[in-house]
């Protein structure tokens, strides 16, 4: 294994880097990580939740499944998923954000996160963190893709469609490896993760070659 990048990412901050086709991104964490990628040579080609779900014909992706762009091209392949068997990564949620938490507090909806109504809310979240992670490429806020939410296990009733936040997280940091299918700009957010038992935690982002 040849390490290209190995970065510690503090809780509720963003991270970004370029990577080449064939290289592998390892995200290691025990908290939610909001993740997105963009074609390094065409910043208009961005990761897309809908195309990913429709290509793989599933709402929860894992080892062997591919992340797809809006333009219907494969961007990354999940080559190892240590969360498999414990929980699912999510493709329903957008990014959390300062405005999202502010509205939830105003409307008395913070108890959705299972810690009650009086938890302190952060002034920013994964939207702002991914803007920061992609800052080298100046991606406008409205074009930050809705992400792959790594380790965000969500309870979904597929009959009624009801979605519930879940505290199911790894007890110790584990990883997911993604292999780039094209040259990419990648960004990740160490989510403030208000539903987790101990809220948001730092993450490790590593890019390597086999």
């Amino acid at each position: 294994m040849k390490i290209i990048v190995d970065d510690f990412v503090p809780a509720n901050t963003g991270w970004g880097h370029s990577m080449q086709k064939g290289q592998i991104l390892r995200i290691k964490a025990k908290t939610i990580v909001d993740f997105a990628c963009i074609n390094l040579h065409n910043l208009n080609e961005r990761f897309d939740q809908a195309r990913t779900k429709v290509y793989n014909m599933k709402i929860w992706i894992s080892t062997g499944d591919q992340l797809f762009s809006k333009l219907n091209n494969p961007m990354m392949t999940i080559v190892e998923d240590q969360f498999s068997g414990q929980g699912y990564h999510d493709l329903q949620y957008g990014t959390c954000s300062g405005p999202r938490y502010g509205r939830a507090k105003e409307e008395g909806r913070l108890n959705q996160y299972h810690h009650g109504d009086d938890i302190p809310i952060p002034d920013h979240g994964c939207w702002e963190n991914l803007i920061d992670g992609f800052s080298e490429w100046k991606i406008p806020p409205e074009l930050i893709p809705s992400p792959l939410n790594i380790f965000q296990h969500v309870d979904i009733d597929v009959e009624s469609g009801q979605i519930n936040h879940s505290p199911n997280r790894p007890s110790d940091p584990i990883y997911v490896d993604f292999q780039a299918e094209m040259d990419l700009a990648v960004a990740a957010s160490a989510c403030p993760d208000l539903a987790a038992p101990n809220f948001g935690q730092p993450i490790q982002a590593t890019i390597y070659e086999r």
Binding site: V54, V158, S160
Partner: protein, 179 residues
Amino acid sequence: MSATTQTTLRPHEGWTGEVKTGQVLRITAKSMIDFNCFEKDNFKEYFDTARTRIYNLNMYPTVNHRLFSKQNNPMMKFIKDGFSGIGLHDLQSSHGCPDLMLKTLGTVKSMTLADLPDPMGLFRNLKISPSGQIKPSPKGPLDPVDIELKAEIDLVCALTNCPSAELSASGADCIVTIL
């Protein structure tokens, strides 16, 4: 409430129009419709499927749900769902007829596929298994039903009448009314 405008869309036609705060957009149809909306004076604020799913904490939009923007602001409220009890609208998929939507929107705002927001897929009835497998299950109503969306801000709305070849009710006209 009286109609201010009414348009009939044949299959594979699109429509775009302004819907002011408080007005109701009624879509009367029995085959698949892809729907988008934008803040009237700012196309950077667009209907977002992910923000909508999470605000409502539900994958299937229906009565009393609100359509939310990327910026986490309410845009429309679902006030009538004639498909309820028959099938489910969809927030998982991309456009069935993206070229048609781009052509339709092009009359007000030039846009490329890369920037086209994912739609609300009315009458799409995508079934999801307990293991997360997606299974298209086309199932239109036998007769046209009304979907009503009330604008919470001034909007430009766009929709395409995009029937699926699998759908038994494919090829049906759609009526778009602003009340």
